[in-house]
């Protein structure tokens, strides 16, 4: 069996160089690779292009990497929870490419699936369409959008085995499965790493072929942005 197991986040990200393009899974703070983000902050790599639906909050998630000015460019759909982000954006320190969420998901899926471009209706007639090819299908207008790929895709799963097979939990799945397919090197951090054969093949969300490195993470904080409970 190919050995994919590394000891920890530091080891998993050790060869990520300055100016790399990264994909980081998660929606808000749900399903983010907490251990690898902490390791990237510790390592201090700079000039990163980060593809991630959101940019974390001021003191958690990708927000931690913004604070240390490690991010040169964000490619995201919604970045509204982060004051430091907004400050860097308005002052021109940070480049930002805002992309409709479904288009972002599909561009990543396309990147992993070897499809260089596709047509989508999202953004037709808006500033998102500027400079893009427009084409009509069955009387409706569509934009040509291209694939996204990354040097490293960093994903977070609930369970994984040593062959790299992954299972996600709840809505922590979000962008993780597509990103896992679109990295030249995909790093998976999991809450529970098990032996090959312990996961039911029927339950695998991401087949191990997409994952090059895997480790069991520690001390998951799983911070909640909007803790909302039933009104009594």
């Amino acid at each position: 069996m190919i050995n994919k197991v590394v000891n920890n986040a530091d080891e998993a990200i050790a060869d990520i160089p300055d100016n790399a393009t990264l994909m980081l899974g998660g929606f808000g703070l749900c399903g983010i690779p907490e251990n690898c983000i902490a390791a990237l902050v510790k390592k201090g790599v700079k000039g990163l292009t980060c593809i991630s639906n959101n940019a974390g909050v001021d003191d958690f998630g990708i927000g931690l990497m913004l604070k240390t000015r490690q991010v040169k460019k964000m490619i995201s759909s919604y970045v509204g929870e982060n004051a430091e982000f907004e400050r860097q954006l308005l002052s021109g320190e940070l480049e930002v490419d805002l992309i409709p969420q479904g288009t972002l998901a599909e561009r990543i899926r396309a990147g992993g699936a070897g499809i260089p471009a596709f047509y989508t209706p999202a953004g037709f007639g808006t500033e998102v369409a500027e400079g893009k090819e427009v084409r009509e299908f069955n009387g409706k207008m569509y934009l040509l959008e291209s694939w996204l790929q990354a040097d490293f895709a960093i994903v977070k799963a609930w369970k994984g085995d040593k062959a790299g097979n992954l299972i996600f939990k709840g809505t922590a799945r979000n962008f993780n499965p597509m990103m896992a397919t679109a990295g030249k090197i995909t790093i998976a951090e999991v809450e529970e790493l098990v032996e090959v054969g312990e996961l039911d093949p029927n339950h695998i969300h991401t087949p191990g072929i997409f994952v090059q490195r895997i480790f069991q993470g520690v001390n998951y904080e799983k911070r909640i942005e909007q803790r909302t409970t039933k009104i009594k």
């Binding site: 209706p121 909640i224 039933k230």
Partner: protein
Amino acid sequence: MPLDKIGIAKRIAQEVQDGTYINLGIGIPTLVANFIPEHINVVLQSENGLLGIGPFPEEEEVDADLINAGKQTVTTLPGSSLFSSAESFAMIRGGHVDLTILGAMEVSENGDIANWKIPGKMVKGMGGAMDLVASAENIIVAMQHRSRSGESKLLKECTLPITGIRCVKKIVTDLAVLDVLPEGGFKLLERAPGVSVEEIKEATSGRLIIEGEIPEMKLN
């Protein structure tokens, strides 16, 4: 008297059809779920990867791995399913979601909507709104008729960057229910209890079409 947010949500809930799949945006649209009558069966879709959104959890049920698109903790229901963002937007883009209810900063008389950006001021991003408005079969907007500074939000043309063109079918505001006609124009259907047609005229800067008597909304 103009409706409050709850009133707008209650009125929109009357538009919800039995047996449909619905995506609710953040804010007033999320409130609509509370007022859908019990005999109407609908399935709520959350674009971060949940079909069949359940109620907010009890304190001890809170699960950080189970949130809605507004990042609030939620629960699943019998029959719920979970999936990736790509599959979620396949549901949306593929036309499988019957109704989208969302907020807006401006709507134009030809159905354009602006709700994602105020240049130089607010740069939060469009999230899933552009995908939703480009693909939903039916789009209802929930919003205040006027901005905080008193400007009409129902315009001839949007002044803010657009989220989608010619997509809004119906608008429910604190003052009125209006259809956006395919040929353009806001057709006044109902007025909020105690609100006059004159007040609605004054608050609408786009073309307002008034035919016959305009009834008051019926709210429970």
